[in-house]
Amino acid sequence: MRRLTEHDEAEINSILSREDEILPSSGFTVSVMDAVRREATAPSPIPFPWKRALPGLVVAGLALVLILISIIAAIAQLGKATTPQLSMSVPSAMPPIFSGGIKSAAIWTMLALLMTFVSVKLSMRLASGRV
């Protein structure tokens, strides 16, 4: 590849600095100012309804904290359990859903469905502004 000489640079400078200038069309200013006026008179964007969403967010945060605490507690119990008879100690350290059989699982499933139903209804009410 040939290196760029000062002469090459001057030549390219001379060609590219002579580029023709175009003029905006006659209606350009009017068109821009129309768009600016539309922008100025447009209603400001609707702010996020923090007041309405706050109770739901607090409940969700609390639920998350509770879930985390129960997971940490379960892990801590697992850690305390002695290793020699792992197969016997694990079931007692697990949350009730793993040790209570079908009845317990059904309760947890119902609870999850209820939570889903409540959160869907709440978000629909939030969206429709009826809270």
Binding site: R2, R3, I12, L16, S17, E39
Partner: protein, 189 residues
């Protein structure tokens, strides 16, 4: 074009006088349309892009911190917009290999002016076919009357990076268009 006029118009526009923005549009419409044209080489699109740049400037007037002159802020905003617009919908370009070049610029039948015109047009088309980072550096450098500092500010890049890109961009042009740019050397030989 006075910086104090810009500042006064910005303050009035921020105070709620929308018509004050018209002064800014009138002062800067030609440079902004021309800058857009250099990016897209399409007259209609360049006006659309410039209009969008003015709209964004209007929306962001409060963000102009006055540590740089208004035009520097405006050009940086417009340059960013034009670059992203061109990334979104690229302009129709030829590859560097497809740029037509006369086999020997000295052998052309046309007169000297015609040959110069053809050569200039070919070099400009070749700039347009360069990879974006070199093309943008060259466009901004020549648009700002070969002022590296202003070009670097508009691109939001360090001056050293812009200088390196300019050098590399010119080097590519030099090597892709050897016939067009070699005439004076042949004369000297």
């Amino acid at each position: 074009m006075s910086a104090s006029d810009d500042q006064a118009d910005v303050e009035r526009a921020l105070a709620g006088d929308v018509s004050a923005f018209e002064g800014i549009v009138r002062r800067w419409q030609t440079p902004l349309v021309n800058l857009a044209y250099r990016f897209c080489h399409d007259r209609g699109r360049s006006e659309d892009m410039a209009q969008e740049a003015f709209l964004r400037a209007y929306r962001g007037l409060a963000q102009w911190r006055k540590d740089a002159v208004f035009s520097t802020w405006l050009f940086a905003l417009a340059t960013n917009l034009y670059r992203s617009e061109l990334r979104r919908i690229p302009a129709r370009t030829l590859s560097l290999e497809d740029i037509a070049e006369p086999t020997d610029a000295r052998a052309s039948d046309g007169n000297l002016e015609d040959r110069d015109y053809d050569r200039d047009m070919t070099v400009r088309r070749a700039v347009f076919a360069l990879p974006a980072k070199y093309r943008e550096a060259l466009i901004l450098f020549y648009f700002h009357d070969m002022d590296v500092t202003t070009a670097a500010r508009s691109l939001g890049l360090p001056e050293g990076t812009v200088k390196a890109r300019l050098f590399r961009g010119r080097e590519i042009l030099r090597n892709k268009l050897p016939q067009l740019l070699a005439v004076p050397h042949l004369k000297e030989a």
